[in-house]
Assembly symmetry: C2
Homo-oligomer: 375 residues x 2
Amino acid sequence: MKGRGDEEGFGFKEVRVLKTGGRVGRLKAGGHFVDTPVFMPVGTKGSVKALDSADLDEAGAEIVLANTYHLHLRPGEEEVGKLGGIHKFMNWRGVVLTDSGGFQASSLSMGTSGNRQGGLARITDDGVEFKSFWDGSKHFIGPEKAIEIQAKLGADIIMAFDECTPNRGDDYAKEAMARTHRWLVRGKSRWLELRKENACVGALFGIIQGGRSRELRRESARFVVEQGLPGIAIGGESIGSDPDQTAEVISWVYDLLPKDRPLYTMGVGVRPSDLVRVIEAGADMFDCVAPTRLARTGLLYFPGEKGERINIGKSVFRLDKREIFPGCDCYTCTKGYSRGYLHHLYKCGELSYFRLASIHNLRVMIRTVREYANK
Amino acid sequence: MKGRGDEEGFGFKEVRVLKTGGRVGRLKAGGHFVDTPVFMPVGTKGSVKALDSADLDEAGAEIVLANTYHLHLRPGEEEVGKLGGIHKFMNWRGVVLTDSGGFQASSLSMGTSGNRQGGLARITDDGVEFKSFWDGSKHFIGPEKAIEIQAKLGADIIMAFDECTPNRGDDYAKEAMARTHRWLVRGKSRWLELRKENACVGALFGIIQGGRSRELRRESARFVVEQGLPGIAIGGESIGSDPDQTAEVISWVYDLLPKDRPLYTMGVGVRPSDLVRVIEAGADMFDCVAPTRLARTGLLYFPGEKGERINIGKSVFRLDKREIFPGCDCYTCTKGYSRGYLHHLYKCGELSYFRLASIHNLRVMIRTVREYANK
């Protein structure tokens, strides 16, 4: 690895630029080398829903997300630390990236007005005060605390605490961006302190905000890049939910980004083609709960079909002996589980359905990325 | 195989008598040889809850149960047939035994009086009328129909339609036993017809009833043995739920049973030691939903502990790095899933918990049987 940050166990290198857009890279984190672009499944509470580590391995996952906000509430970062850290806790030998909890805190704070008032959390310059959804107990996460929690969890890649900005270009978007920048400086400072004490503290990524404004996004990109952190992320309300807007935001800031840093677009994608869209635009890393969440509601990825998915609950699949998607190399499709059987399991609410369906959707996303990169 | 019934693809042979009680045998069914005694996991609706075929293989399962009553209601035996039969449907290459639905029908018929009046089903000499718990539609299963459904499902071992008798020795127990005998004759007759048309129809087991009366149980055993069927089962309300009563019922009839037929006690066992108790008494086959059902409520088998289990939901396990049961050879215990992590998954209601917990409980039951037989 000749990328920067190698001395701290983290590095990134651009390997080649793809003719169809985007690039292939190589990431080093937590002692592992990972080819990028890379789709990262989400294990919010320390478990990718319905799956275990071997399922993730089998599907080709290399980096798994976990969430600071959720793990702070339960079981608590101290507890995860006492159980050997996030890797041992989850029994996952690959790379772990923790989101900072900024997105969850911002979502909770969203009042009915659409501004950040009247919600279940309160955002101030200090950080975010919120109540636990488990028991109503009061909690606080600020930029320093978010880093401390992630360091205790022991993730390989950690995220700066940010305010997820609404998809607008108004004064509020500007205010939220400025606050995110102030938080980034404070978070970085705490991160540097912790790294002095313990070199194993994860590599910190800064997050570009700025809502729906090209000007704000460029201002934010310049600010984040100046911090010289190991990785750069793009966040915000529309990132992930709208791949075209995500690609547009990348295009606004792309010329400002250093080539030797991975670019992580947070929350992409809902459909397999969303991944292709953001890779073309220049993203190296992305995560989304959609593959497993959709699977649980009966929606199974089927490239070429309308919406790129079928609804296994439909009666047309009742007597269908075929695998979910012809030629799919996932465990569920190759081991002999038919659409008819999955339809039955889904209709009966059988627990085995959730796992078999999630495995398929996850594998399609991971394969889509690999196939694009190998073209 | 020198046991009877070999010509029809089914056979049983007593291999050796154990000094500690019970025997080791060898069963042939559905093209497979299975060592007995054997614990059979229950996949009521065509899926052992939370597990897939590979999980069952890994846990050492060789025979899986499915239920006639449930599969008749959904997806329907015709549908299972069109999807290639119960094995292909469930994607299970081992042996499949189907229960006849008599137990479910009898349970539904149980009114508040404790007699068979006022329940959700009506038992007559013809069979049982009942309503679907899915949509309220009316259904009927009688002794002939139960055999026809099981033949269409394509199970390797099928059960005669019986009335699961209350744990009493009164006139009602006698009446239910007599009805079960009349149903057995009718079911056998339909079975013989179907076997002429198709030699692959599963091996039929008759069921001894007679409630809590030694006299009735012996009368029932004589009657069932006289039918000369491939296997013999013992059913009834207390069988399974009370291992001591089950062992006592076996002792009442044991001298009447032919040595070249497997003895199946239906619904055993709730605890690992229940299995030892009935093996000592002479049982060769047994099934129970308890291992997977208990697992889902947080109760994990732990031989030596009170009740032979621990409650993983207890806070004492919050920071426990150890595997569920020290030395356990199950997937969950050997692959690195700690009590602390399972506690967390259980408290969060994560789907992965149900599978990891069920695998452990199932493996403990299967290992308990193998260890006893190998002593």
